[in-house]
């Protein structure tokens, strides 16, 4: 299809000719192919050449197949530059009025629908079936996930609830109780913390991952054994912006069954397979959204940037002139224990938490490269925790 757009050019291949369209206006400029720079610089350049400095933009480009693909990070920006031959055609839209349906890899399958058609022709009112509005994967915000399936015993479930700033209440209650454990001395009744009630319509209930009478074993990687109900309550509330609870579900029939080669796969998400509760994982936000991306039902590892973003750090500062700013993070690293799940759930975390910067940076790097080495350790430790 790109032959339609072929532009005769006598310029050298080292530069990329860019034709950028915003609304009815076109701008033309060129970029150095070998040194494209970063996306945010590019984005700034676009705002500059269109003279729209304060408009949030959705940047799309036409690839060789005529598909309209987004440019919103360094990777796809570099990809776009590398595949432009030689003209890079950009389509800018205001973010708030963006037509997401124009994007997608399936535009080939839509008969006779070119990129231009997709962008220029607004979906008109008399179209029979309005297309499903699907936003970009990165625009999704997860609300819950099961994590660490590969390192936890099958009887346990580690659930992450993303509270963020949303209105929905977390919506559950906990109570004291007792559970039976296998110890070297035989069966023993030990006190434990249990989920006692779910608030209808709350985040906890809507995920379907937690249920009444599930025993709470850990909160954000810290064992609750030996802690009072009030302590556990305070821990959960302190972590409520990004709560990770490890539970032993009262109903053990919906457990994740680990595949035989379990734990081998990296971030592919293929190592865990849900038996029947898959629908509930993403069910909450948009039914039918599963086609957007390879549905990583089970997120195994966190991206470092994701961890950074979920910090509760953004205290609000209002300066004398009345403008509210979230507090930027200062250069030095946070010394506290990052609020991320620990892969050594049964080790003494207090010492780690109290440790100095060295240990904390150590744990940070542990996170960015998922530490398989620790897995063995935690599996050994599981012995003390397996319950009936």
């Amino acid at each position: 299809m790109n032959k339609h757009h072929r532009v005769p050019s006598n310029r050298t291949l080292s530069s990329v000719e860019v034709k950028s369209k915003f609304g009815a206006e076109f701008r033309r400029f060129s970029l150095d192919r070998s040194k494209p720079g970063r996306f945010d610089e590019f984005y700034g350049l676009l705002q500059h050449v269109h003279r729209i400095p304060n408009v949030d933009l959705l940047v799309g480009y036409a690839d060789v197949h005529g598909d309209l693909l987004p440019i919103n990070n360094n990777d796809n920006y570099h990809k776009a530059i590398s595949v432009a031959s030689p003209l890079l055609r950009l389509f800018l839209q205001r973010k708030e009025e963006a037509d997401y349906s124009a994007f997608g890899t399936d535009s080939l399958t839509r008969p006779k629908k070119t990129v231009l058609a997709a962008v220029l022709l607004r979906p008109d009112a008399n179209r029979k079936k309005p297309p499903v509005i699907i936003s970009l994967p990165r625009d999704f915000r997860p609300v819950s996930s099961i994590i660490d399936v590969d390192i936890l015993p099958e009887t346990h479930r580690r659930v992450r609830l993303y509270k963020h700033g949303q209105e929905k209440p977390l919506g559950f209650y906990i109570r004291d109780g007792s559970s039976v454990r296998v110890t070297p001395q035989g069966l023993e009744k030990v006190p434990g913390i249990f989920i006692s009630r779910m608030v209808p319509g709350g985040l906890a209930e809507s995920t379907g991952l937690l249920a009444v009478n599930d025993e709470v074993l850990e909160v954000n990687g810290i064992e609750v054994q030996g802690k009072s109900l009030d302590q556990v309550t305070d821990m959960m509330i302190a972590n409520s912006h990004n709560l990770i609870v490890t539970v032993k579900p009262a109903n053990q029939r919906n457990n994740i069954i680990r595949s035989s080669g379990g734990g081998g796969g990296a971030a592919s998400g293929s190592s865990g397979r849900s038996s029947d509760s898959g629908a509930s994982f993403y069910g909450y936000f948009t039914p039918g959204a599963a086609i957007v991306t390879t549905p990583a039902h089970i997120i195994q590892n966190f991206h470092p940037e994701e961890l950074e973003s979920d910090e509760d750090d953004e205290d609000l500062v209002i300066e004398a002139d009345g403008e509210a700013l979230p507090i930027p993070r200062a250069a030095s690293a946070s010394c506290s224990m990052p609020s991320l799940p620990r892969y050594e759930p049964h080790l003494n975390l207090r010492s780690t938490a109290n440790g100095d910067l060295a240990s904390s940076t150590g744990s940070l790097s542990t996170v960015s490269t998922p530490d398989r080495g620790l897995e063995g350790r935690s599996l050994e430790e599981d012995g003390t925790l397996i319950t009936l």
Binding site: K163, P169, L170, G171, F172, Y173, I174, R175, D176, G177, S196, R197, I222, K227, S228, L229, D230, Q231, V232, T233, D234, M235, M236, I237, A238, N239, S240, H241, L243, D312, D313, E314, D315, L316, V317, I318, E319, A320, I327, P328, R329, A330, S332, S334, C335, S336, M337, S339, L349, R350, A353, N354, G355, D356, A358, S359, G362, S363, S365, T366
Partner: protein
């Protein structure tokens, strides 16, 4: 990963930590909660108090204190010292006997339990046979006679507790040796009293509950004489010459019996009901002591006419024509009399009475029998403690002025020195003068010398005079009327009934350099006071601070504002109020800070905070922090101001009044215990049925009391630009907000005229919304900014204004450091997210190293809701050490904790006792004293401090200023023996600063 860390550094840090931090609970100040037994050793000059919780405390001269705790959680019912020894025996509620000794170890005595014993009767015998009711430590020092409920007397060899079965005095032996008409027909009942003949240690008097007394010869093992009293026996006293026996009875009578002569039956010389005609209560204890010339002293406890004065707690002292019924504030536990002379056989010099809430000592040798002020065991709770404030290192000048103001208040006390002189106080002088201020429910602030082991009362400030209250001014005048019978005289200071709960003190701040004090109370009143050595008459001007600032929809349902006296009030020398701010609505003041250099006071309530200029006497700033949707804060608590002093007092007494005589209390206790246990079990079962639930929900801005101001802080720092430091005010709320104001102060010469202004500079909303409990600015070196005037007095290094300052915000959940002037998060320490504990109390302290004098670190001392103490380093905010300190169920103990600037702290272990603890390895105040048996003469005991504080004065007045510190420092290095000899140890508080 940890494995690869450098071990050298780690262990180096560990070593430094050991040199800086160490946790010790060092001494308990105040009055033991629920005392149940009293003992006294004339030879050692020590008194012992046992409590219902099983504690045993020994006190000698000021600073000589020992404490022990029985493993059993049973009440101590009796304490007896073994004559001429350092051992003592305690009898517990569970019928076990315990032997304690004072063992010298490294030159310091320690109280140790060395044996325990329970009487075992013959198989099959009922428990009453061996239930001990009376104990006599025989003067030989190695025999213990134990009278039991079954009427038997067991003889036990001590200290090993070996039963001498063949010498036991069984009830049968006794009944066989007295005439039929006394012995046989009816049971003699339990052994009420055992007394040794003062002139013949072979003879012992056994008093039985029904009234019969038998004099038993231990050698011949036979009854020598019997005394045929017919009334229920309460107590027995054998006069010193051995010629007479006094017995007191349950009908309020006492009898004198002649026991000299050979007649096997003693005759009654005298029988009297001192408060007679109408039925009287029992005389529970009787003592008669001779005087050199003239009539003896007679002491009777109880015996009041049942109907009219049955609710009084009285001890009658009768000497010649003088007859006084000392009327105590609470139930009498026991009493004894101290006598003069090297052998403690001379004139009675002091009457020591232990009542349930205080220890009262009456000087019997001064006209009018005045009270001697106690150097320890002071009832901290004479009115309930509502807050406390500690000020370290008081300048000498202020110290002396407070002392002299206090001395003027204590003119009614006896001038005699404290009569208890046992033991040697080996503690060195404290390195500095520390004040502990306690605020009380009745609107008083008490100043305590907290430098050493003895928490000594210095001065009492009353704020009630500023206000019109419904207290009855005639209340204190209706006593001592001429010719009243019985001749009551009120003694003691325990008075827990508050005239008006609104007077209660909630916050205190004292500037030790300027002598300005500010106190704030329950009804939103803030008083600013100045130390004045003269009495002065003034009118206190009130300024109202409207904290609502026009907030709509508000209805305050709480108490009303206190009414201020319009007419001028005469204030005695001491702290005199000169300015008053009244918050509107009159909610309890929750935060208070004074800046004496800027002459500003800031205060906060659940509605907002204000800034008051006490030089110009006007409000500089009022800021409402209220969330309009917060109904609870809007309405305030329900009014509780309905109590009337008298009716309260009477209803309390009615409850306490009981006709059950003491004798039966063993049985009652057991029954009560069973009942309580049953109730507890039922409660537990109920709990199982309906478990407690906790909601897991992040805090929201609409939660209750988010606007409550928790902390206020003044700082001279870089608030808006990094080149100019300015005065600033910081406020932190319950909802995790921090407000910062930039202050503009006029130049000093125009300070009286030009207004002080405050401009909002910053607001920070912590995302985790936990209550902000502390705000601190760290200077360029990372050290906390010094206190106002501290630098001006050359007592602190001036803060580093070159490097950039940082702001430390302490919330209940996190410690967070921000950069200044641009507020951005620098580092933080999470507490709650990691172990579920929350910060309850926080203080800044300097920890000196034990190794070198010149090394030290600043740190935060933190108490959590779990009762754990932490030290958090500054400026790095890292946890250093953690110690469990208070039970987490002890909420009031945790709430009462106050930290000192040198790593010590105090918290209430009962309404009347402060536990002192130390987190610092260098700064430890603990008793160090030695008690030895005096071989010949009691010369080990030397005259000690004058309890009126004169000795403190003497010590201080001889030196001045900075020389004091130097000299103390020097004396610390000097050999301890020479140090003791130079007499400086004669200090009203025996004190230790161990190196």
């Amino acid at each position: 990963m940890k494995r690869f860390r450098r071990h050298g550094q780690e262990s180096q840090r560990e070593r430094i930590k050991q040199e800086l931090y160490g946790f010790n609970k060092t001494v308990e100040h105040g009055f033991p909660h629920q005392p149940s037994a009293l003992g006294f050793s004339p030879g050692l000059q020590l008194l012992a108090i046992g409590t219902r919780s099983g504690a045993i405390k020994l006190y000698g001269g000021p600073g000589v204190e020992f404490m022990g705790l029985h493993d059993e959680n049973a009440a101590v019912t009796q304490v007896h010292f073994l004559p001429h020894q350092v051992e003592l025996v305690t009898l517990l509620d569970d019928n076990s006997l315990h032997m304690w000794t004072l063992r010298a170890h490294h030159g310091v005595s320690e109280l140790l339990e060395i044996g325990r014993f329970t009487l075992t009767g013959p198989p099959g015998a009922p428990p009453s046979v061996t239930r001990v009711t009376a104990v006599l430590a025989h003067s030989s020092g190695d025999l213990l006679l134990l009278g039991t409920e079954g009427g038997h007397v067991f003889i036990v060899k001590v200290p090993g507790f070996r039963e001498l079965e063949e010498r036991n005095i069984s009830l049968e032996k006794v009944t066989n040796s007295v005439p039929e008409e006394y012995g046989g027909r009816r049971s003699l009942e339990h052994v009420e009293s055992l007394q040794e003949n003062p002139v013949n240690p072979r003879q012992v008097l056994i008093g039985y509950g029904r009234g019969l007394m038998v004099i038993w010869d231990l050698d011949s093992q036979s009854a020598v004489k019997h005394i045929p009293a017919t009334q229920q026996l309460e107590s027995v006293w054998w006069t010193e010459d051995g010629g007479h026996v006094l017995s007191s009875h349950s009908d309020g009578s006492y009898c004198r019996w002649k026991v000299a002569g050979d007649d096997p039956q003693s005759e009654q010389e005298k029988s009297e009901v001192p408060y007679g005609h109408f039925p009287c209560k029992a005389i529970s204890k009787i003592i008669q002591l001779p005087t050199e010339q003239g009539p003896p002293f007679l002491f009777l406890s109880g015996g009041m006419p049942r109907a009219s004065y049955g609710d009084r707690h009285c001890i009658s002292v009768i000497h010649s024509k003088t007859h006084v019924a000392l009327d105590f504030t609470s139930r009498i536990i026991d009493f004894f009399v101290i006598r003069d002379g090297p052998d403690h056989t001379g004139e009675p010099s002091a009457l020591v009475v232990l009542v349930e809430e205080e220890l009262v000592v009456i000087d019997l040798q001064t006209e009018g029998w005045p009270v001697i002020q106690t150097p320890y065991l002071v009832p901290l709770h004479c009115s309930a403690i509502t807050c406390s404030h500690h000020v370290s290192a008081i300048p000498l000048k202020l110290w002396e002025r407070v002392l002299s103001a206090g001395t003027l208040q204590n003119t009614h006390y006896s001038k005699k020195p404290w009569p208890m002189t046992g033991g040697q106080n080996l503690a060195p002088d404290p390195p500095q003068r520390d004040l502990l201020l306690t605020g009380h429910e009745d609107g008083t602030v008490r100043f305590w010398d907290a430098s050493g082991v003895c928490l000594y009362p210095m001065y009492k400030l009353s704020t009630a005079g500023v206000f019109l209250t419904d207290s009855d001014p005639n209340d204190n005048l209706n006593q001592g009327t001429e010719g009243e019978w019985p001749p009551f005289r009120k003694v003691g200071c325990f008075d827990p009934y508050s005239d008006d709960p609104r007077l209660g003190i909630q916050k205190i701040h004292l500037c030790k350099y300027s002598g300005y004090l500010t106190v704030a109370g329950t009804a939103g009143q803030i008083l600013v006071l100045e130390l004045n050595d003269e009495a002065a008459e003034q009118t206190v001007e009130a300024t109202v601070a409207d904290l609502l600032q026009g907030q709509e929809g508000f209805r305050w349902k709480g108490h009303t504002r206190l009414e201020v006296r319009e007419e001028p009030v005469t204030f005695p020398p001491g702290f005199q109020p000169f300015a008053l701010v009244q918050c509107q609505p009159p909610a309890v003041v929750t935060a208070l800070t004074l800046h004496s250099e800027w002459k500003l006071v800031t205060f906060g309530t659940s509605h907002g905070f204000g800034l008051y200029d006490y030089q110009q006497k006007n409000n500089v700033l009022v800021r409402c922090t209220l969330n309009p949707s917060d109904q609870l804060a809007m309405e305030g608590p329900l009014s509780r101001v309905k109590s009337i002093k008298k009716s309260l007092r009477q209803s309390f007494r009615r409850i306490r009044r009981s006709r059950v005589s003491l004798r039966k209390h063993h049985v009652n206790n057991a029954a009560k215990l069973q009942q309580a246990n049953a109730r507890l079990e039922a409660e537990l079962a109920e709990m199982e049925l309906a478990p407690v639930q906790r909601k897991i929900e992040p805090r929201s801005p609409d939660d209750s009391f988010t606007g409550l101001v928790r902390t206020l802080y003044f700082a001279d720092t870089f608030l808006s630009d990094s080149s100019h430091n300015t005065p600033s005010l910081w406020a932190g709320t319950n909802g995790g907000s921090v407000f910062a104001y930039q202050l503009r102060l006029p130049p000093v010469e125009r300070r009286g005229e030009d207004p002080v202004t405050a401009h909002p500079a910053k607001e920070i909303q912590l995302m985790h919304r936990a209550p902000v409990v502390g705000i601190l600015v760290l200077d360029g070196h990372g050290s906390p900014l010094p206190e106002p005037l501290e630098v001006a007095h050359d007592l602190a290094r001036s803060p580093d204004m070159q490097g950039s300052h940082s702001l430390l915000v302490i919330s209940e959940e996190q410690f967070k450091v921000f950069t200044l002037p641009k507020v951005s998060s620098k580092m933080k320490l999470k507490l709650t997210a990691i172990d579920g504990s929350r910060v309850r109390r926080v203080g800044v302290a300097w920890f000196g190293s034990t190794r070198t004098d010149d090394y030290g670190e600043s740190g935060l001392t933190v108490l959590t809701n779990q009762g754990d103490l932490h030290v958090v380093s500054l400026p790095g905010v890292k946890l250093q050490v953690q110690y469990p300190c208070i039970r987490r169920e002890d909420v009031s103990g945790i709430a009462s904790c106050v930290f000192t600037k040198h790593g010590q702290g105090f918290y209430l272990i009962s309404p009347s006792e402060f536990e002192r603890f130390s987190l610092s390895a260098r700064c430890v105040v603990e008793p160090r004293s030695l008690v030895e048996v005096s071989s010949e003469t009691p010369s080990t005991t030397q005259p000690r401090a004058l309890p009126d504080g004169a000795s403190v004065e003497r010590r201080n007045s001889t030196r001045d200023g900075a020389a004091v510190l130097q000299e103390i420092q020097k004396s610390l290095e000097v050999d301890q023996t020479t140090f003791l000899e130079n007499g400086t140890s004669a200090l009203a508080g025996g004190n230790v600063l161990s190196n």
